[in-house]
């Protein structure tokens, strides 16, 4: 793409901005961008601000409950759930990478072996998706297998009320992965079963272990 074409791309961006302004001034957009009603506003605030101060009455429940409250909070929550509910069976889980891969960014063919190719500095997002909603107590953690040596990986999960689990972070900052090839093992399930898992442990109906091959490039 030549300099002229980059200029044309800039021109196109300017035109798009003009179209946007025209659309936002139209009757069609008026309803969509009208200020929220008091009820809509309350619902938004309850969803996006910390729940400790929120009024739970009639709240739309957020599916993502951030695992930022610390271990004590998680343990307390799990204890409450365990005491108040029968333990449901863990559904099967699948693992997928939700972030844009290195190959897509570079315009290269994507790996065909199901592995993820990422680069230092890129956002990396992995989702563990249950086959059906799971409302029981849940925990998750990650291990890294480098040439047969398995070690814990410090990477905090985000737990959804649906049972989905999300890991996000920037390679080289929140997610410290070595350059080259390795395997990530995502352990998900009942907190005690997740805690008890070791590389040699057998199957346990209370947990699932999913592996994802990754290649990290500079």
């Amino acid at each position: 793409m030549s300099g002229d074409e980059m200029h044309e791309l800039g021109e196109r961006a300017r035109r798009r901005e003009a179209e946007r302004e025209a659309y936002l001034a139209s009757d069609e957009a008026a309803e969509l961008i009208a200020p929220p009603s008091a009820e809509e506003r309350q619902r938004l605030l309850r969803a996006v601000l910390p729940p400790a101060r929120a009024d739970a009455h009639g709240a739309r429940r957020s599916p993502w409950t951030w695992a930022v409250g610390g271990l004590a909070f998680a343990a307390a929550t799990a204890a409450v759930v365990v005491l108040s509910l029968p333990t449901p069976a863990l559904p099967s889980y699948s693992v997928r990478v939700d972030s844009i891969g290195y190959s897509e960014v570079r315009g290269e063919p994507a790996p065909t072996d199901g592995s993820a190719k990422v680069a230092v500095g890129m956002a990396f997002e992995v989702v563990l998706q249950p086959a059906e909603s799971f409302r029981g107590a849940l925990a998750a953690r990650v291990v890294i297998d480098t040439e047969g040596r398995v070690a814990p990986l410090a990477w905090s999960p985000e737990l959804a009320s649906t049972g989905a689990v999300r890991f996000r972070g920037e390679i080289g900052r929140e997610v410290m992965l070595p350059l080259g090839r390795s395997r990530l093992g995502f352990v998900v399930g009942a907190p005690s079963a997740v805690e008890a898992w070791t590389p040699g442990a057998g199957d346990d109906p209370g947990r699932a272990v999913l592996w994802l091959a990754v290649e990290v490039v500079p």
Binding site: A13, R16, W66, G107
Partner: protein
């Protein structure tokens, strides 16, 4: 007098976005609620615009996505909001609009309507029907440049989009951009070269997809 009292009650001048954000980052819950009120109109507009490029959005869709964008800004101790730096020249609303646009496009790209799904099995169905060609159709992109622009909007970080805007939309000289973004002129030039390379790759990729689709 009334506005002075309002400022006094808030404990700072929130008419300055930097001060307002600083209060939120310091844990002021009331300031955070007011920040939601401040940013929501900008987010609604940008979300509505992106969704409208692919059809006729409903108000519920706009508010759902707006909620996701706010969560994105606030989660993990305001990680994304903290990356806004007023000294780099972008207004808070401009920064948030970029975050909103990128989020909605990425959401459409991944086939997710919103992070607020309760039924996890819907995910799979949506993903199966949400390839890149679907995304381009959803966004109503007719020609190659439009498609490249849309892809760039979803890939570039807010800071990179500001750089793109400064260099190719506002056509500011490299030295001015370097000074504004606190970079060396060489670094801006290198970034610009990388962007051209990426645009070339996108051009090839999208052209190939068009050929494949037409056959």
């Amino acid at each position: 007098m009334g506005s002075f009292l309002a400022r006094w009650r808030r404990g700072g001048d929130e008419s300055d976005p930097a001060q307002h954000v600083a209060k939120v980052l310091a844990g002021d819950r009331a300031a955070a609620e007011r920040l939601v009120d401040r940013l929501l109109p900008t987010i609604q507009k940008r979300v509505a615009w992106v969704l409208a490029r692919g059809g006729k959005p409903r108000r519920d869709d706009v508010l759902d996505h707006a909620q996701d964008v706010l969560l994105r800004l606030f989660e993990r101790d305001y990680r994304i909001l903290r990356t806004w730096d007023p000294s780099r020249g972008a207004a808070l609303e401009t920064f948030v609009a970029m975050v909103a646009e990128r989020h909605v496009i990425a959401s459409l790209r991944s086939g997710r309507k919103s992070a607020w799904r309760e039924d996890p099995t819907l995910d799979v169905e949506r993903e199966l029907g949400a390839g890149e060609a679907d995304l381009e159709r959803q966004l109503g992109n007719k020609d190659l440049l439009e498609q490249i622009l849309t892809r760039l909007e979803s890939e570039l970080t807010p800071r990179s989009r500001e750089l793109f805007r400064a260099l190719f939309v506002d056509e500011q000289p490299i030295d001015d951009v370097a000074s504004r973004f606190g970079m060396s002129s060489n670094a801006v030039y290198t970034w610009s070269s990388r962007l051209r390379t990426r645009v070339q790759a996108l051009s090839r990729e999208l052209s190939a997809e068009r050929v494949a689709e037409s056959t």
